[in-house]
């Protein structure tokens, strides 16, 4: 079960969708990332208002036909990694655009 968690894209990044993969560069430390299709969907859905659990259940599971529990664990790990680099913000409450 995924804990209630809200995620939002940081504004201190550059990002573009190239052939189905999201490329992202941190403006803070120039770290460069590419996201696979599943991670790209989570990234695009990270609006600060939709709980991560809802993103997994409503977007990831139907689109990629994956088990909700496994998808939840993968999403948690992905969110944790990106938040460590400051390119994804995580909160237990909805995130307003001002804090990004």
């Amino acid at each position: 079960m995924i804990a209630e968690k809200y995620i939002a894209r940081s504004s201190a990044i550059a990002a573009r969708l190239i052939g189905g993969e999201m490329m992202i560069m941190s403006a803070v430390d120039s770290t460069f990332f590419t996201l696979n299709e599943v991670a790209t969907v989570i990234w695009q859905a990270a609006d600060g208002r939709t709980p991560l659990a809802d993103i997994v259940v409503n977007r990831i599971c139907p689109e990629f036909e994956v088990d909700a529990e496994q998808a939840g664990r993968d999403a948690e790990q992905f969110v944790s990694e990106l938040s460590q680099h400051g390119i994804l913000l995580v909160s237990e409450t909805p995130i307003t655009p001002e804090v990004r």
Binding site: I13, A14, R16, L17, I18, G19, A27, S30, T34
Partner: protein, 361 residues
């Protein structure tokens, strides 16, 4: 292969312009002796036009956006343009002389999430730098700007264009960059003016000085490796692309003109009359540029340097043929390795009698 190189390959395969260089103005507060631009305003794009172009570039998949000029801060709407670009999530780099950057501007640049600021410094000595920019006090202002930007935690690169008049100051500029804690890049390339005027080429450093640059381990790293004779070309080299111009990169002027590169003034369309995607996908000029492979180059394909030369198709174009040699790059290859290029050999004076007379038998 790095992630970035992988994305470049992917963009190349998909025909995506990953990088765009946009000059927002040609106006400038300096009058550098080597500059290739006409600084009068012949009808720059408006804020609305530039924002619309940025929207189109974002839709086309552009990731790296370099904003340059002229001097970018001569535009009163400059920060509005950067703000819009960052809202569209471009990776933004700025090229500026820094003269108009004070603490407030540096803070704004950092707040907007600009990736890097490149600043031109010609010498560590005011009398040399200011003589090149023709703006008294410009070195002082530029160094102050670098300090303001650094204090905001921004990445700054000093670009040092080498000319005959400042050649001996490159070590001084490098030391200045070290003292300021910023990166340093050196460029010995002087390009003809965009209208074809080649008078500025007289400012180029002579070949013997270029040789000295290429023997500096501080500048080139491993000198032996850098100056090694070129390896024999294989099929990968002969089928290779000259550079990213027109393939994953292009240049847009303040008037909306699209070119393959800032150093490649082949008019390929205008954004006041056409959509960017239309120009990028359908321009006959860009298609022509994209068709060129090393093996198609009449002289360079036979050259020993074909696999390692920095041949610029834009400089070749300015010499009259985009498939021809670029003399400046021939000179670089020669000074680096001591081996003359095919183009140099072709142009070498013929040694022998001008007239041969055979006596009647």
């Amino acid at each position: 292969m790095s992630l970035l190189a992988e994305m470049n390959q992917k963009a190349l395969g998909l025909g995506i312009p990953l990088s765009v260089h946009l000059d927002v103005t040609y106006r400038c507060n300096e009058r550098c002796v080597h500059c290739y631009l006409d600084h009068d305003d012949h009808g720059e794009m408006t804020t609305v036009e530039i924002k619309d172009i940025l929207n189109q570039l974002s839709d086309a998949g552009v990731f790296f956006l370099t904003l340059s000029g002229g001097e970018v801060l001569m535009r009163r709407d400059f920060f509005e343009i950067v703000e819009h670009a960052r809202r569209l999530l471009f990776n933004v780099k700025l090229k500026t002389n820094g003269v108009m950057i004070r603490e407030a501007e540096a803070r704004r640049i950092r707040e907007l999430g600009v990736e890097q600021v490149q600043i031109s410094v010609y010498s560590h000595r005011p009398e040399i730098h200011d003589a090149i920019t023709k703006l008294p006090g410009s070195l002082k202002r530029t160094i102050e700007a670098i300090r303001f930007l650094k204090s905001q935690g921004l990445k700054v690169v000093i670009a040092n264009v080498l000319m005959a008049g400042n050649f001996f100051d490159n070590t001084g500029v490098m030391a200045l960059a070290n003292e300021l804690g910023v990166s340093y890049t050196l460029d010995p390339t002087i390009t003809p003016k965009m209208d074809g005027d080649t008078s500025v080429l007289a400012l180029r450093i002579p070949g013997s000085d270029l040789k000295q640059v290429f023997r500096s381990s501080e500048l080139v790293g491993n000198v032996e490796e850098f100056c090694a004779p070129p390896p024999a070309p294989d099929d990968d080299i002969m089928d290779g692309l000259p550079c990213s111009a027109g393939h994953t990169a292009c240049y847009i002027s303040p008037y909306g003109d699209v070119f393959p590169c800032v150093q490649f003034p082949l008019p390929s369309g205008n954004l006041r009359r056409q959509k960017f995607s239309d120009i990028w996908q359908n321009s006959p000029q860009l298609k022509d540029v994209r068709s060129i492979r090393a093996r198609d180059l009449p002289t360079c394909s036979t050259c020993a340097h074909v696999g390692t030369c920095t041949r610029c198709p834009g400089l070749a174009y300015m010499e009259g043929n985009m498939r021809g040699a670029s003399s400046a790059d021939c000179e670089k290859s020669f000074q680096r390795t001591g081996i003359p290029s095919a183009n140099m050999l072709l142009k070498a004076p013929v040694v022998g009698p001008l007239i041969q007379i055979q006596a009647a038998v």
